[in-house]
Each structure stands twice: as C-alpha cells, then as structure tokens.
C-alpha cells in the first residue's frame, strides 16, 4: 500500500520503523530508542506502541522473529523498509519546499 493510499506516517509511526532499521528489537527497547533519539520530544505510550506494532504486523511492515515469554522480537520487512524510505523522501520534500520558501 503506497503513501497515497495509506496516508503519511505519523511521527510515532516513523520513529518506530526507524527503530527497526538494521536490527531486530523487542517492544520495550523501542520506547527507549525513540526517547533517546528525539531527546524526549516524541514519547511512546504503551498503548500507542502496542497498537502500532500490531498495525505494522497487519500491514506486513514488521514480522515477528522470536517470542520469549512476554518479550517479542520484530524486524523490518522489505515492505516496511520501502514505507520508511517513502516517508523519509516525503519529509525531505517538505523540508526542501520549506527552505526554498524561506530563502526566497
């Protein structure tokens, strides 16, 4: 599902996908990653994280790799990587448009 059908990713969604780039993680590690990466600007409530992880699995952006009691580990799929790149490109376009307006 492309960005036009799905709509743009929200900030929490973007950072969650970012957290999985290049490595597998479990849910609890994501909260720390996002808080550290954004300097506390973006906070993930447990409900937000749980809902978005379920949503990404449903959309096949993430796949489960391991279950260890209460800890589940996920990794990004190709579809998830494509969605992240697409969103990144969209944000770059937004930034470029904004800078162009400011500089002119």
């Amino acid at each position: 599902m492309g960005i036009k059908e799905r709509g743009a990713l929200t900030e929490p969604m973007f950072y969650i996908l970012m957290a999985f780039w290049g490595q597998e993680r479990c849910g609890t590690e994501i909260t720390e990653f996002v808080a550290r990466k954004t300097g506390g600007r973006v906070r993930l409530g447990p409900g937000t994280l749980y809902t978005l992880l379920a949503k990404f699995q449903e959309e096949q952006f993430l796949e489960e790799t391991n279950v260890d009691g209460r800890r589940r580990t996920y990794r990004l799929t190709d579809k998830g990587r494509a969605a992240f790149r697409e969103e990144l490109e969209r944000l770059r376009t937004c930034v470029a448009d904004g800078e162009e307006v400011i500089s002119s």
Binding site: P12, G45, P46
Partner: protein
C-alpha cells in the same frame, strides 16, 4: 477492639454495590471518567456490564481507568501486559460484554497509554467495524421480525405456491390486528427502540473514532445520561413483564374443548336441526384493536364415539366461526373479507353474493364451485362474524341466527 475494626473494614471492602450503567457503552471517555469519579468515592469495579455494574469498596481516590478495545484474544497478550505494567498500568478484567480490557493506575506519574490521538483511533478500528455490523443487523432485524411474526401467520392453510403473496393486500387489515396483539406489539416497540439505541451507540462511537483518526481529541460526551440509566434500569422489569405477557398469550391461544366455552357462538345443532353428536374446539386471540376475538370449530357426527375429540370420525357437518369486536369499526369490512379469504380453499373458485340485510352494515355469502362449502360474513358497529360451513343446509336460510353474532 483493633482486630474487630480491622475485620469490619475488611467486610466493608467485600461488600459490593450495584449500579445500573448510566453511560453509553461506546462513550469511552465518559465511562472512564465515571469510573474515576466512583474511585474518588472509594469504589472499585468488580463487574462492568452494558446494563449493570458491581463495585467493592477498595477504590483509591485519584485512580485513572482506561478502556482498551479488545482485539481478538479473550485476554491481553503477555506482551501487552508487560508493556503496560512497565508504564505503571495494571490489568483488571474484560468489561462491557467483552468489548474492552480495563486497566488502571494509582500512580499520578504513570504516562497515558496513548501519546497521540491517531494511534488511539487506530485501536478502535476493529470495535467500530463490529458496532457498524451490529447496527446493520439491527436495521434489518425489524424486517425479518415483520415477516416471521406478522406475515407468516397470514399464510392460508391450503395455498398454492405464491398465492398467499397475491392475497397479501386483502390480508392487510388482519395484519393490523396481529401487529396490535400485546406481545407482538411489545416486541415491535422493543425492536424499534433497540434499533434507535444501537443507532445512538453507533453514532457516539463513530464520532469518537473519526475525531481520533484525524488526530483530534475525542468530542465532549454527555457522560452520565439519565435516559441510558432509565433504559438499563427498566430492562429487568420489562423482561419479567414480557415473560408474563407471553405466558398469558400462550394460555389464551391454546385450543380448548367446546364444552368449556361460555361465549356466544352458533351451535351447529341449530343449523342442522339435529340431535346428532357434536364436538369441537375454541381458540382465543386478543388484539388491542379487537378485545373480543375467538374462533370456534365444531363438527357433527353420527355417533357419540366419533364426537370425542381425538377420535377418528367423519363429520356429517362442520362449521368454523370467527367472531370479533373491532374498536375501529371502519376496519370491519376489510377484516371480514380478510378472514373470509383465509377460510376459503385456494384451489376452488367461489361465487360471491352481497345481501342487503336491514340492521347490518354488510352481509356477504359465498359458495365454492363444488357446492361443498359455504362462506358467510356479517358486520355491524364493529362486530364481525365469519362462517365457513360444510353440510346439507343453506346458510342463507339461517341469516337471523348468524346475525345474532353481530347484534
């Protein structure tokens, strides 16, 4: 003394309070706020249903409650419990007919479960779809109910395929009487009310869901709703009333032997002018539009043995009579023709004759093409009598006797 006080406090904590749910089950912020208000009064939910709730006295002021829509599993996954517990939220139980998981926290520093409205909206996707399906079902249900409860009873006893459809316009007045039978009328009113209530609940949830999905906070809700409280509080009395009404309806509708009957009817012996043995049944109906409504089936036999109900015997003559008193007299002619259409044998054609009888609003006679059965209907001031006769006599020769049923 100290031990007594401790035991007393423990007993008080165990003692439960019952309350009727005063808020729509899909007004999530309203429900959460109501639980928090009750927690401030020292109450903690033990059971939270669509109609009633139970609380014990272990509530802690300042407790926050959150309702998490149930996804698919009957209880939260270990992963969800772990994530929520790490944030300071404790799971209580599934609530509102397995629609939500209830979580609570007494820690004022615990972060909210959702850090943005959009993800909160996503969590309601499945519930919104379920409620929409329920809403569509309840919109269709009155139609199904209408067909099963009102149209099916009007199917003639002997009908060619599709012929009852053709006779439906004639049966409309009788349909009206059926709709106003107390139990059916109550069922109809209840169904319409449930349709309205489902529509209201659906609307509440859809508004909340739409706002959240657009990244906006949920719209302000009514919270405590007196009508929701009344609706829930009246459920049990209404159920009891419906059961009693159903029992009463069943009792009056059950056929009984004619010898127990005390209401006026035309005994077949007076038409046949014979001392032959007779037996039969009577059946009562009741409609708010027809407070007097009964049917009598009587047969005359050659021997006493054959006249015993249940015994196999071939009758010399047979009479079916339906007598009604209508509270809306203009309906009389239509009801009479509908009942006449119901009693006729579909495979036969009938010759009809309308008579001018002084003192009567209408008088119709009919005879089937074989001459085996005759139909008659008379009406006056809202009274209607319909007869189907099989025998050797002519009904036209006994009009005065038949007219006594409508005078």
């Amino acid at each position: 003394m100290k031990e007594e006080r401790s035991l007393s406090l423990e007993a008080e904590k165990d003692w439960e309070e019952y309350k009727f749910t005063p808020i729509s089950p899909y007004d999530i912020p309203g429900l959460e706020h109501w639980l928090e208000e009750l927690a401030n009064q020292g109450l903690f939910p033990v059971h939270l249903g669509m109609i009633h709730c139970r609380f014990n006295h272990t509530g802690v002021p300042g407790t926050r409650f959150r309702l998490e829509p149930i996804d698919q599993a009957a209880k939260p996954t270990p992963e969800q419990l772990e994530m929520y517990a790490q944030a300071g939220w404790t799971y209580v139980m599934p609530v509102v007919r397995q629609s939500y998981f209830l979580f609570y926290t007494t820690d004022p520093e615990a972060p909210e479960l959702y850090s943005d409205w959009a993800s909160r909206g996503m969590s309601l996707d499945r519930l919104t779809r379920q409620v929409r399906r329920l809403h569509i079902f309840w919109l269709c249900y009155p139609l199904i109910l209408f067909v099963l409860n009102f149209l099916m009873p009007l199917v003639p006893h002997s009908s060619r395929p599709g012929s009852w459809l053709a006779s439906l316009p004639t049966q409309m007045p009788m349909l009206l009487l059926h709709m106003f039978m107390p139990i059916k009328f109550l069922l109809l009113l209840t169904t319409l009310y449930v349709v309205l209530r489902t529509w209201y609940n659906h609307r509440v949830l859809v508004k909340i869901h739409r706002n959240l999905k657009n990244g906006l906070p949920p719209p302000p809700t009514r919270g405590y709703n007196r009508w929701v409280w009344l609706d829930n509080a009246s459920t049990i009395p209404l159920l009891i009333f419906t059961c009693l009404l159903g029992i009463w309806t069943f009792k009056i509708k059950v056929g009984r032997e004619l010898k127990e009957f005390t209401q006026p009817y035309v005994p077949l012996a007076q038409i046949e002018q014979t001392q032959a043995y007779s037996g039969g049944w009577f059946f009562r109906e009741f409609s708010l539009l027809a407070p007097v409504w009964y049917q009598v089936e009587e047969s005359v036999y050659a021997s006493a043995h054959e006249a015993v109900p249940g015994e196999a015997g071939y009758p010399i003559a047979r009479m079916n009579m339906t007598r009604l008193r209508l509270l809306i007299p203009p309906l009389a002619r239509g009801v009479a023709e509908a009942e006449m259409a119901r009693l006729r044998v579909d495979e036969l054609s009938y010759d009809y004759e309308e008579l001018e009888v002084p003192g009567l609003d209408f008088a119709l006679l009919a005879r089937d093409e074989t001459g085996a059965s005759q139909l008659a209907t008379l009406g006056r001031d809202g009274w209607v009598a319909v007869f189907r006769y099989s025998g050797g006599e002519e009904l036209s020769g006994h009009l005065e006797l038949l007219a006594s049923m409508v005078c």
